[in-house]
Symmetry: C2
């Protein structure tokens, strides 16, 4: 194993609109401003790991506007290995259209595009893989062939059947979820949390700006979040996973992996967008030392 982390899931162009009001049926409202930002959980994580100095490849479906949008050149510049992308020239890239009104109400339309078509694709065998939000059938095929599996169904959990979820969990080493998702996962497989823990090496549950909790069979770590001036929480979870996994593959102890993840997330939230404020390893070392009194270089 050469310490390459493979990330499976969405590479998406996020269209983020500020609008006067959320438009219902037969309504029309002006857009106050909007921006297109690089997103998709898998791409967020891959770009973060690569920027931190890790080896990382992205396993993702992309469409015919991946190059023209600038996203391809940008990801290449971070150092992510793009040689395993599924390029679909007859599809538009995966996209989210998110409309936010003045009262912070939000509605979203999601174009699955290439991500949906991964369902019928036969994945490669991977040594160390993180399954981010992604097409469930493809994720299950990857999990069954991979050496080491990290899994985070995220908001795509609603698209999983219980059977697919169980298949993946039987092949998973580390699972990530937020406090709502972890409960739903237990419900879907009809098992209490303790049984879920038994199925996996590690379970990481994130609690937004409060922190995260890392469970193994016999240990339970609480990692408080770093208090920073959070401008936009979007992408914080992806940053946490990127830092955690890069720590894990470098054999840092679990509680330190959590602190690395939490430190990375603290940078992401300081600017709007998921990939606009990616730290390098040296930034993480300094902040980890300052807030957690943890020397990563020791």
């Amino acid at each position: 194993m050469d310490n390459t982390i493979s990330i499976v899931g969405h590479t998406a162009l996020d269209h983020l609109f500020n609008v006067e009001k959320i438009a219902g049926p037969n309504e029309s409202f002006p857009i106050l401003d909007y921006e297109i930002s690089y997103g998709g959980g898998a791409a967020n994580i891959a770009a973060t790991i690569a920027t931190l100095g890790g080896k990382c490849q992205l396993i993702s479906g992309v469409g015919n506007d991946f190059k023209s949008s600038g996203y391809e050149d940008y990801l290449t510049s971070t150092g992510v290995d793009l040689s395993h992308l599924y390029r679909m020239e007859d599809e538009k890239s995966t996209k989210a259209f998110v409309f936010t009104d003045k009262n912070h109400n939000q509605c979203t339309y999601f174009h699955w595009g290439p991500s949906a078509r991964l369902k019928k694709t036969d994945p490669p065998s991977l040594d160390f893989v993180h399954l981010a939000t992604s097409e469930p059938v493809f994720n299950s095929k990857v999990a069954q062939k991979a050496g080491f599996v990290s899994f985070d169904p995220g908001q795509d959990l609603v698209t999983y059947t219980s059977e697919l979820l169980e298949t993946i969990l039987y092949n998973t080493n580390i699972m990530f979820a937020n406090k709502h998702e972890i409960k739903r996962v237990c419900d879907m497989i009809n098992q209490p949390f303790d049984k879920l823990k038994d199925m996996l090496d590690v379970v990481v549950v994130t609690y937004d700006e409060e922190g995260s909790r890392i469970y193994t069979d016999d240990i339970d770590y609480w990692i408080p979040a770093i208090p920073v001036n959070a401008v936009d929480p979007t992408g914080a979870g992806d940053g946490y996973r990127a830092g955690f996994l890069l720590g894990y593959i470098q054999r840092y102890p679990l509680n330190e992996c959590g602190k690395i993840g939490s430190t990375v997330a603290s940078f992401i939230v300081e600017k709007a967008g998921c990939q606009t404020n990616l730290p390098v390893w040296n930034d993480v070392e300094k902040r980890c030392k300052y807030y957690y009194d943890l020397n990563l270089s020791d």
Copy 2:
């Protein structure tokens, strides 16, 4: 005067989405499919006139994605003169995002972008101009400087003040409106229809698939629409205006201008999209002869 028709108004990229449901606040729904189509009333009319063989220039604000979207090359290929565009490299082009659900409910978000910034722009003096849906202050400045003015406030009527509307009407020769808009115009200037007619040389009122009516002080023509297999009514009004104006500048009688407009519209509705089925003059001649028994070449 060299028979050039100047068209003022929006050049927009229409993003047309089919979605499972219209998303309300804090809802998320998948996009079933979507396409980006060339639109904006002014650009629709200009492309139609140029394709018919007329001389036409577009007075419109465009953003930094006008070229990369393919729209610029397309308009150039139709023969529209683009040398009077306001190019704004720090703005995204004017866009409409239209979401349609399975029950044909529709909601729209409109990004004014460059069109909004025309407000502060000093327009050129134009011999023969059609004011399409556009920024009202800019339209009024154009109207006050132009030789001959055709005016169609369209769905942007809601953005006009009564004062701006009156200023434009005092400088207008031909006005176009649908049956709802004409009533609203009268309400806004607090005048009965007969008084409005007195202010203008010609008033054209369109009645969707039924036809149109052309009023002068003493004449009132009814032009029945041509019955065709209408796939998508979007852009029909723009097609009508293009045909009418091209006929008018070539000194066809008013009732024939209406028949030319109606014939052009009958082509537009046969295909989805506003600029996907533009006829050439010969097509119009043939259909005009067939349905109206009118020889345009006489």
